[in-house]
């Protein structure tokens, strides 16, 4: 077999996320073999994580194959909508270690993380009292870069779940970085005993984005995570001048994707410069622009989500 065929076999058979990690015949010669072998076995921290996570009714992942589609923005708006309109107690954990956007969105920048006898106290956002944990809040300055390889990122994510005193919550929203790598495998593995409700997949309309969503669906299927539904973000732009809706990222892929994979569309969010401006300037868009189509959209998505997780 020439080397390209072998590569193809290894790509589809990599058992990194299973019990055979590092031990299967396809693992021979793989640079990650030793690391995978060491990942197996019982984890003493898992019990503590199970207890902490057990106090939280619903755990929802926000995923996307593609960067920049608005995962963090959707996580932010959704958590506000759940807290405000559905009277839920909500926490958000930011699993994007290299590019943490959550502290800025939730207006908790420059607040230090304090240790309590029960663990790290999550920051509380002035917007709807959402509890927040992010590596962004642990950095001295916003130019400090977190240059971690996989195992260190995984280690920090574990601490976010194990060492944070989340308390009793209705929802824990897990914002993720783009891709299907260490962070995603870590969160699925750490939450497996407490059965997360599932994942919301965020995309923008254009095909380049929708193509990577298919990979994310494939990831969820392989890892046994339920797909709660799709959110189409940046579905159009309402021009503040003439009020006409224009397509910024043209494409029709989301509807056909939803049909072909039998996944519900939870909602579509157009771009509203007023909402974006709120996100930049620490203001609560639900409070300031309740009539915005984006705010209306996220409120519908939050009530659909409540329906799904309570019936599931």
């Amino acid at each position: 077999m020439d080397s390209l065929e072998i590569l193809d076999e290894k790509l589809t058979e990599c058992p990194a996320n299973s019990e055979d990690a590092g031990r299967s015949s396809v693992c021979e010669g793989c640079p990650g073999q030793t690391l995978c072998r060491m990942q197996g076995g019982a984890d003493p921290d898992q019990e503590i994580i199970d207890v902490r996570m057990g106090a939280i009714k619903h755990k929802v992942l926000i995923l996307s194959g593609k960067g920049g589609v608005g995962k963090s923005t959707v996580a932010y708006l959704l958590s506000l909508a759940l807290a405000r309109c559905q009277s839920s107690k909500v926490g958000v954990v930011d699993l994007d270690i290299c590019g943490p956007s959550i502290p800025k969105l939730f207006n908790v920048e420059n607040q230090p993380i304090v240790q309590s006898p029960y663990g790290w106290k999550p920051l509380v956002s002035p917007n709807e009292d959402v509890k927040v944990m992010s590596v962004g809040s642990m950095l001295d300055s916003d130019t400090t870069s977190v240059i971690f390889r996989g195992p260190r990122k995984t280690g920090l994510i574990k601490r976010f779940l194990k060492d944070t005193f989340w308390g009793k919550l209705d929802f824990l929203i897990c914002d993720t970085p783009p891709g299907t790598s260490d962070e995603h495998m870590a969160i699925v593995k750490l939450l497996k005993n407490v059965k997360p409700d599932g994942a919301i997949l965020v995309t923008t309309p254009q095909e380049v984005a929708v193509a990577t969503i298919k990979k994310e669906i494939s990831f969820c299927r392989k890892m046994g995570v339920a797909v709660l539904g799709l959110v189409e973000n940046m579905s159009g732009l309402v021009c503040p001048c003439c009020k006409e809706t224009s397509e910024v990222f043209p494409g029709r892929g989301v509807v056909s994707l939803a049909e072909s994979h039998n996944i519900p569309i939870l909602g579509s969010l157009p771009m509203d410069p007023k909402v974006t401006e709120c996100c930049e300037n620490d203001r609560n868009p639900l409070e300031n622009y309740p009539e915005s189509p984006t705010v209306q959209g996220i409120m519908e998505i939050s009530s659909r989500l409540i329906g799904l997780v309570n019936n599931g």
Binding site: G155, L156, P177, C242, F249, E280
Partner: protein, 327 residues
């Protein structure tokens, strides 16, 4: 001196030292197992990579801390622009293992990579423009590549070592967002390959700038010269009333102010034209499809600044080595 990462435990012996992973200070560090089992000493593959890269005149890395700012779009159009000069040979390497967009953007999805005696042949988009991406190696395009860091690093190393680009003028390396395994690997494997520099892409809003500042810090830490910052999606022109809207408001001064604050050159701004996204979906070059768009003009201006940087760098290098010879 072995390198000690930020946030390492106290008395960390350094990831490159003989005591890495084995010292008492290493207990409890999440990286302990990796340090203990990593082979020490120089990596022989770096030599092979350096040799391959020596046949390439200019190596450019396109980075951003933030996802979705248009790295791949920019890389593809920079490649199209550079290859419009038929005398130049351009190669593009896509090291986004989990979300490889470039085969689609170039309109070569589904193509096969072939192996020859001298290595893997990249896929030719045009006579003088070739591409290598993990997207070509997947049996199904919808298949997720769920790899941990070391496996991704291994793939990137193979790409750098085994792809037979030939003697080309420019190699553009498109990266995924972040400052993690892929970026560290690229910096590590290319450290002796004399990379011309990095082009950092951002969008105007502060949420993006936050991540991009970190990326600039990363470049400085790994001694990667920064050619400059490009601000993408600067403004959107409503096709109906022609009024310009800032979709991503530059609430803190945008890319230009950030570049000034971080003391790096600002290469220019690119407006958001919906036809760009459409061209990417269709695998076409926006520069040839919509030559009269303000975005096309902006691309060309930024491109000429990048070419000027590379040419000047070459001249400086040649005059330095000339001086050394006469000395």
């Amino acid at each position: 001196m072995a390198d000690i990462p930020q946030n390492a435990p106290d008395h960390c012996p350094g990831t490159g030292s003989d005591q890495a992973g084995k010292s008492t200070a290493c207990q409890g560090c999440p990286n302990q197992n990796v340090c203990a089992t990593k082979p020490k000493g120089p990596d022989p593959d770096v030599g092979d990579i350096t040799e391959k890269m020596s046949k390439i005149k200019h190596k450019l890395i396109i980075l951003s801390g933030k996802g979705g700012v248009g790295k791949s779009t920019f890389t593809a159009h920079l490649a199209h622009g550079l290859s419009s000069d038929n005398d130049k040979q351009i190669g593009v390497l896509d090291v986004d293992i989990c979300g490889p967009s470039l085969p689609k953007i170039f309109g070569v999805e589904g193509e096969q990579v072939h192996q020859s005696g001298s290595g893997w042949s990249p896929v030719y988009v045009d006579d003088n423009l070739s591409l290598m991406s993990v997207g070509f190696l997947l049996s199904k395009a919808d298949e997720a590549v769920i790899w941990r860091g070391p496996k991704k690093n291994g793939m990137i190393k193979q790409f750098l070592r085994d792809v037979d680009w030939g003697e080309i003028d420019y190699l553009l390396i498109d990266t995924p967002p972040g400052t993690s395994d892929e970026h560290l690997s690229i910096a590590q494997y290319l450290k002796e390959s004399d990379v011309d520099g990095a082009i950092v892409i951002t969008t105007p809003q502060e949420v993006a700038l936050l991540d991009v500042r970190k990326e600039i810090t990363f470049c400085r830490k790994v001694d990667l010269p920064i050619i400059g910052v490009v601000e993408n999606m600067s403004s959107f022109v409503c096709p109906k009333c022609k009024v310009s809207t800032q979709i991503f408001p530059a609430s803190t001064g945008g890319g230009q102010k950030m570049a000034e604050d971080m003391n790096v050159p600002f290469l220019g701004s690119l407006p958001l034209d919906p036809r760009i996204g459409k061209c990417c979906d269709e695998g076409k070059s926006f520069l040839t499809e919509v030559p009269d768009s303000p975005a096309t003009q902006a691309y060309k201006q930024i491109m000429s600044k990048i070419v000027e940087y590379c040419t000047k760098r070459n001249e400086n290098r040649e005059s330095d080595s000339g001086e050394m010879k006469t000395n």
